[in-house]
Structures are given as C-alpha cells and as structure tokens.
Symmetry: C2
Subunit: 148 residues, 2 copies
C-alpha cells in the first residue's frame, strides 16, 4: 500500500561531520525514504528537527538540486540573503551550483518536521562558515584537504 508507514522506517541522527562540528545536528532525526520505499529517481528524506537543531552546517551543492517543504512547526532559513521564517506549507528551493549556502534552524519550542528532496548521488559540497569540505566521494575533510 503506497501510504508510507513512517514508524516502520528507521530514524537516525547519524552524521559524517567531525565531532567539533556535529553538535548542531545531534537532534536532527531523519528517515531516508527512497531506499526504504524503492525509489531511485531522487532522494527524499523525512526530517524532524528538535528545538535548537540545525538541518546541516550552512552549505551548497555543486551537483544536487534540493527542495524542502515544511510539514509542521517552524524553522528559520539562513542563506546569503539573511534569515527567513518558514512555516507549514512553505517551500524552499536550492538549485545546484548557485553558491548560496543555506541551512534551516529550528529556533522554536516545538519539533519542526520537513520533507527534503535531492539526488541519490553525491557531489562536492561547500561549507563557507566552517573549515570543512565534501569532495563528493562521501568523505569530509578540512578545506586544505587534510583529514579530520
């Protein structure tokens, strides 16, 4: 039956960030929908941001379009243009390679739930605010290429 039973899909707060950059995503709880549901054309995740949690370090992708829709709660979108409140039903789009680093932060008292769609494949990812880079092969390193 196509209605998704979210409870049946494992939820994780795992991150590839090094410990000193990972505090902000410790309460980002996500479910990877596409592998669980047999979808291969795109990657979709259901994400619960607990109060105080960030979706990610502020970043932009060279090779991956992203689309996000808020399902419940609120989050502040932070990007090069400033801060923008997102509420249920609000959509944000991040075209690949636009150089506009972004993240969303739950600054409220309730959970923020959103759905995010991207590609299943990885690619280089840039983090302007912190000394981290993702080369697209899955491993994160310092901007000079050295390992954490």
């Amino acid at each position: 039956m196509p209605k998704v039973d979210l409870e049946a899909i494992a939820q994780s707060n795992a991150t590839g960030y090094p410990p000193h950059l990972a505090d902000i995503v410790q309460e980002r709880w996500y479910r990877r929908l596409s592998p669980a549901l047999g979808l291969t054309d795109f990657g979709a995740s259901h994400v619960v941001l607990k109060p105080g949690a960030w979706s990610a370090q502020r970043h932009w992708h060279e090779n991956e379009d992203e689309l996000l829709v808020i399902l419940s709660g609120q989050a502040v979108l932070v990007d090069d243009s400033g801060r923008t409140l997102l509420e249920p039903g609000d959509i944000a789009a991040f075209p690949k390679n636009d150089g506009n680093a972004h993240c969303v932060i739950n600054e409220g008292d309730a959970d923020c739930v959103f759905l995010v769609v991207g590609q299943s494949v990885n690619g280089p990812c840039h983090y302007p605010d912190v000394d981290m880079h993702e080369n697209g092969a899955g491993d994160k390193c310092r901007k000079d290429g050295s390992a954490f």
Copy 2:
C-alpha cells in the same frame, strides 16, 4: 531568496486528457515548481485539489518514481489495495513500473494541497480504468493506439 513565492508561479488546470475524461481534473490547479525555480534533477509540482477534484485518472508509470506529501486538507488515495485516507503530513510513494495504478481524490469540503515529486522526463503511463494510454512522447491515445 530560496523561499518560494507560490503566488509568483503560474497556476494551471490544463490537461492533456480528452474532454470526456477530463471532468475530474478540471479543478486540479497545479504549479510546476522545477522550471520556475531552476531545478532540473527532478520534477516537483504544488497542487491544489478543489473539493471533488481528482489528481489524475488512476494510473501507473513505467519509468517514473512518484512521491506525494499532503500539506493541508484531506484526500483519499485509491489504488489496487483499496481506499486510504491521507491527511496533512502523510506521504505516499509510487515506485516506477510497480503496476499499482493510483490517484488521490478530494472527497472533502476544503481544498486539499499537496506536493508531488517525479521525473522531468516522460515515459509510458498506463490507465487501467479508462480507454487511454500515454506512450511517453506526450500524446495520449486510446489503448488500441488510435487518436482521440
């Protein structure tokens, strides 16, 4: 700014269905987000189903994964397994080529708003309940291949 201004994106109720199959989608008002927002990895649409409207004739795609999330209102998902109520935050997934024809119908008194993600490319689409077929090149015809 990545927050999407929906009002700035054209809304349409256009359909490629022949007139005798199109009544049910006349009050399906959609915005094609991906071309408006510069996204090319996947196709995303914001859809308002007025009371009584269907998302489509019941169908399944050979080459296109679909994912839908309800943003407000309610809809009944109809597929080979029966009828399932969808409410805000509910997600439904339709893997390509699974042969499970589906649609959602707004049987309520309020608008139903959803976001749906698929591919930007077309492909064959099957409609088990009506004499229509989509060969993937954009033109719909009868099941015997004849034109409407």
